[in-house]
């Protein structure tokens, strides 16, 4: 069965992508899959968010489980672009699947510097994480400010000719941002990142954890966003939120997504990608028997 997808400048062998931050920097893919399995099942690998300088991340606790969900407060711990290029990229390139680097910046300039720095490297594309605080605007998230997102995408587009995706936050002026990304030259949008959430980790003393909610709990919310956004824009929408089975993935594809990313499920079982692709194939087969929708 041919599962290949065309995302404009990027062709994927399958619609499944590994979401940012849920496979580290991807250097251990071959510990859990054979090369054949990687190439046959994983359309693309999206790296953990990469920043200019190394980031040590947030103090513990960084995780809290909620019913069918997970709140994370990692703080984009990563070794920085220099170390990423030196110690990680050579390894992940060898797997033979497209590598998409997720960029984390707190100023437009930082995103530009990162994009320029990757121009000479063999990476298939960039994914801009706009759920970052913009320090030049008093720390307000990029994703709340359509004007800034427009400027960001236009500027990165000027220096980056390969595949360029923007990863939306599910909150804020989401529909407006999606349209702006399209107008500003993005090749695709990823819908979406985690939902701002809060957990009370202790009643007495009262202690909370604020972070991003992911996992099956968010699937209906993100699915709605994918459905609505894919009607509004022409560039491909990549669905991401709570996929844990082949059926979930199919729901995203039927709701308008061209491809999908899996995140939290990798933390439950590192071989989720294989299971989801197998189920997706079985589902597709089943549906084809009943209707002409696939």
């Amino acid at each position: 069965m041919d599962f290949s997808v065309n995302l404009g400048l990027l062709k994927l062998k399958t619609p499944l992508m590994l979401a940012s931050g849920t496979w580290g920097l991807g250097e251990n893919l071959d510990k859990f899959f054979s090369l054949k399995e990687i190439r046959e099942n994983i359309g693309a690998l999206v790296t953990k968010g990469i920043s200019i300088n190394p980031r040590k991340g947030n103090p513990p606790p960084r995780l809290f489980e909620t019913p069918c969900g997970l709140i994370n407060f990692i703080g984009v711990e990563n070794p920085g672009i220099k170390e990423f290029k030196k110690s990680f990229l050579p390894k992940i390139k060898k797997f033979g699947i497209p590598v998409i680097v997720n960029l984390y910046g707190e100023k437009i300039e930082e995103f530009l510097e990162l994009a320029k720095d990757l121009k000479k490297e063999k990476v298939a594309g960039l994914e801009l994480n706009i759920s970052c605080p913009n320090v030049e605007k008093g720390g307000i998230y990029f994703s709340y400010d359509p004007k800034i997102v427009s400027e960001l995408v236009r500027k990165v587009r000027k220096v980056w000719e390969r595949f360029l995706a923007v990863k939306l936050s599910p909150v804020g002026p989401v529909y407006e941002i999606a349209e702006i990304c399209e107008k500003s030259g993005a090749d695709a949008i990823v819908v979406a990142n985690t939902y701002p959430a809060l957990a009370v980790i202790s009643l007495k003393p009262f202690k909370i954890l604020q972070g991003g909610l992911s996992g099956p709990a968010i699937k209906p919310l993100t699915l709605r966003l994918v459905y609505e956004i894919s009607k509004k824009i022409k560039i491909p929408v990549i669905g991401c939120g709570g996929i844990i089975s082949g059926k979930d993935a199919l729901e995203y594809l039927l709701s308008g997504a061209k491809a999908f990313q899996i995140g939290t499920t990798n933390l439950i079982d590192p071989r989720s990608a294989i299971k989801i692709m197998r189920e997706l194939k079985e589902f597709k087969n089943g549906l084809c028997d009943k209707s002409d929708t696939c």
């Binding site: 496979w23 040590k56 995780l63 996992g215």
Partner: protein
């Protein structure tokens, strides 16, 4: 993830259970004392994340997990019946350090992982047996698996908070008495206040001290960066990669409650 068949899941004391999982010997052979595994507890995604447990013992093709019910995951685990299939991932984390002339200090369910160390140190090849085991719990009933632990012929000192068995008081009092007489390396696993006290004793008696730490884990394999332990150098260590056993002098225990 591997699959295993539950061969027993029996109550050892109030809230403490011993779980036996039948799994291929080939897989179990790769497990070393001090390492852990993640068990997928519910297929309906609540609890969503598999829970980590130490390896309590391995007999042929049976893996033993000794666990305490503290929340919804362990409660659901205690309801799993003989014959059911469960999925697990492991071995995860680093083994215990290969040390000689040391004592073990275990508080409550912290005893779980030391059973496998005793098993694997019988032949004194890769791991060495401790000189003594200090094992404390709230009350007599919660001192579990004593017949199994005693089999190895290592002196065991017991304490309970209520004095229902052994010394009445904290196990760390007994450890301090021992260190006064005979300072030696400590390997400890237990509740946070016990670990803090042990770290203090290690410093006071100038002995190398290893602590088996706990955090909430997600992936258990270095993907999510969720399991950090602050180090004295100001950076973060990752429990599932660098631990779960850490040198006390390397970690900043200030984050513990």
């Amino acid at each position: 993830m591997y699959q295993g068949k539950v061969v027993f899941n029996i109550k050892e004391a109030d809230n403490i259970y011993l779980l036996g999982i039948e799994a291929p010997k080939k897989i179990l052979k790769s497990f070393k004392p001090g390492q852990f595994l993640k068990i997928k507890i519910d297929k309906r995604f609540d609890p969503l994340i598999p829970r980590p447990f130490s390896i309590h013992a391995i007999d042929e093709n049976i893996l033993y997990i000794l666990y305490q019910v503290v929340g919804k995951g362990t409660k659901a685990l205690s309801e799993i019946k003989k014959g059911e299939i469960i999925e697990f991932l492991g071995p995860l984390g680093k083994p215990f350090p290969k040390i000689k002339n040391y004592i073990i200090c275990a508080g409550g369910i912290g005893i779980a992982g030391f059973g496998f160390l005793l098993q694997k140190s019988v032949n004194k090849k890769d791991f060495y047996p401790p000189e003594k085991i200090f094992y404390g719990a709230k009350t007599k009933n919660e001192l579990v698996r004593l017949p199994f632990l005693k089999k190895f012929g290592i002196p065991i000192k017991l304490s309970t908070d209520d004095g229902s068995k052994g010394y009445k008081g904290l196990i760390t009092d007994m450890v301090e008495k021992e260190l006064k007489k005979n300072p030696q390396i400590i390997l400890a696993c237990g509740p946070q206040p016990m670990l803090k006290k042990i770290a203090e004793l290690g410093e006071k008696y100038k002995v190398k001290t290893y602590l088996v730490m706990e955090t909430f884990l997600a992936c258990g394999i270095g993907f999510c960066m969720g399991c950090v332990i602050p180090s004295k150098k100001g950076n973060y260590l990752h429990l599932c990669i660098d631990g779960p056993t850490f040198l006390a002098e390397e970690i900043d225990l200030g984050f513990l409650s």
